[in-house]
Symmetry: C2
Subunit: 381 residues, 2 copies
């Protein structure tokens, strides 16, 4: 039986599909090979998967990767080519040409994000088609071991969130700020507690958000300095497992002190919108439809999007080897399928109040969803 | 006086240079804007620098970036375009076309790594040249504030290295392994101590290497499991400051127990090769020449490269917003210039012995170099 990649190549009349990049930034390359490297290498996907790495990486590639074959650029005389070429890129491209010809390539597919420089050069020797990466599509539907890895990261995410809520919960509102042990509690301190917890769980987190007051009105602002009392604090944690490479993603909004009526109302609106979004999720529904139902709830409740305030982002996104991947729950959202893993994360943002966001991670099922998030929603700590 | 980017555009007869990507993976985009984002955005470099971000990111871009102008895709009706287009990429490209036309672009430059998909689409409306990114060249020469940031990360790197050597130094060789508090000392434990130290210093480290025995024979193997006694342990730490984004990089090789004569000899050879490499460094010398002097020392001392063992990698690389950037000290190494920051890191690797590598970070000066590395070289702890 032909493999998914063979079916893809057949449909597009290609002899192979080539990736060039590093597998830290290009999750497709990691997905296809399980070879993690920060330096540039190449992956050729045909019936078999072939890695092309530097000679220094050849042994490690053989041991760590799941590719069927590992070759080194030395086998294509990169050093000799470097002496004749005006730069590394040109020499590397000559290696690629020989490598591809040696694998019977005439018609080649490359992904949308393939480096334009190599694309131009390869067009001289091959018929090259730029296509959506088949690996990106394969990655959308998670296998059981991938779901297990995501759950594992999500548990670490929840333990880190607990550290954050414990810290904020044990602080004291004094005037406009929160205090703990005589010092203002800061975004940095809470983020530190989150990051230490994640580190103990073998996870890393790039850009954890702990933002209060006006800072929380920008959905991606990390937050800095003293945390406001009596105001919503958005905590968004999206860690990755260092060993298994899968992300999780969760947001909670909490408050210490007195919640103003309008904050309570906003929180309740976001809670209802999230419940509506979750209710809409099942295989066969489009991400666009889920997003439109969430947007409608906000409209119905009197929270339209206007001039950069209100519900300013999409409802959610896929999570896996990338923290933002397909499918998206947005205006351009594709049809959901069984074992898609997506976030449902409506939020409302106002410069004078701040922001409220609630985000859960779920697996799409035939008739609904299975939540991967085990953490209460509670505004006032 | 024209700015460096204007000079570049003039020389190549371009109206602007466009980057599309995220500034976590594309350091050029961060360099030009100081806007850190994991989602795709665009930067147009002309006399002024313009950011094009999603509406959700517009406020943050205005506050955090150093771009002269920040625009949002909503201002180009991305939502309406999405409804008419078959996918996000096509809609986004229509936005790019209007954005570029609005900035007077006819002749456009894009970097080598520019996404081939957008390149193809933009070629329909513009005269597009794929060129080496001018930002990559600007980044090579470090300004004082960049040097300060690198030094700051390097100090954190050294504190982390100290934690590692203290841990290994306080262990006990028993049979073939090291023990501490009754347990085998593992690569994971040492890496944990390193990572905790870095976290306290506001740094993150992707792939710290703590590898002993045969594991250390692959220069990029991270190392796992119990650490070997009486055998070289390669510790390679390359952290990045979370706030300032600059990397540092350092390697030491240590051993607990008895060092065999051949290990001592290899260590001494690497030490001599590093000293020779450092001695060769000054403005005007090529990275190729430095590498070739280091390679010659190994040859003279009787350590040729052969079938994947010996000195299997280049002598060094630039360090900055990327951990591996130009210039390289290798067969294709360019001329060194004042305020280049480079590593000098010869190593020897043998499957039966393991590996020895010593890596220092230096700034290139008119008549030599200034070392940024303050850490002793000592094999036996």
């Amino acid at each position: 039986m032909p493999s998914p990649i063979q079916i893809f190549l057949g449909r597009h009349n290609l002899d192979g599909f080539l990736f060039v990049g590093d597998s830290i930034c290009d999750a497709d390359m990691y997905y296809l090979t399980h070879f993690l490297a920060g330096d540039k290498f190449a992956v050729l996907a045909q019936e078999k998967t072939t890695l092309l790495v530097s000679s220094m990486e050849l042994n490690r590639a053989g041991e760590e990767s799941i590719a069927n074959e590992c070759l080194s650029t030395s086998q294509y005389q990169i050093m000799e080519k470097l002496k004749r070429c005006k730069n590394w890129e040109e020499a590397y491209c000559q290696v690629l040409v020989e490598f591809l010809q040696g694998h019977g390539i005439r018609r080649l597919g490359v992904p949308f994000r393939f480096p334009a420089g190599f694309y131009q050069l390869l067009c001289q020797d091959f018929e090259v088609s730029v296509l959506e990466s088949p690996a990106s599509r394969f990655r959308e539907i998670k296998r059981q071991e991938e779901l297990d890895a995501i759950v594992c990261t999500q548990r670490a995410c929840e333990r880190a969130m607990r550290q954050a809520t414990l810290l904020i919960g044990s602080s004291e509102p004094r005037g406009e700020l929160l205090y703990r042990e005589g010092q203002p509690l800061t975004s940095e301190k809470v983020r530190g507690a989150i990051e230490r917890s994640l580190l103990e769980d073998g996870c890393e987190a790039m850009d954890t958000i702990v933002a209060s007051g006006p800072q929380a009105a920008a959905p991606h602002a990390r937050g800095t300095g003293p945390i406001a009392a009596n105001a919503p604090i958005v905590i968004d944690i999206f860690p990755r497992s260092k060993s298994r490479r899968y992300f999780a993603d969760m947001t909670r909004t909490v408050l210490k002190g007195e919640a103003a009526l309008e904050v309570k109302e906003i929180y309740e609106a976001v809670r209802l919108a999230q419940a509506e979004g979750l209710l809409a999720i099942r295989a066969g529904v489009s991400g666009k439809e889920v997003h439109s139902r969430v947007s409608s709830i906000f409209l119905d409740l009197g929270y339209p999007e206007r001039e950069g305030s209100g519900f300013t982002h999409s409802t959610g996104h896929g999570v896996g080897l990338d923290v933002h991947e397909k499918p998206s729950l947005s205006e351009s959202g594709e049809e959901l399928q069984v074992n898609h893993v997506v976030t449902v994360e409506p939020g409302l943002y106002y410069p004078d109040i701040g922001g409220v966001r609630l985000e859960d991670l779920v697996v799409v099922k035939e008739n609904g969803y299975e939540s991967l998030t085990h953490f209460e929603r509670k505004l006032v700590l």
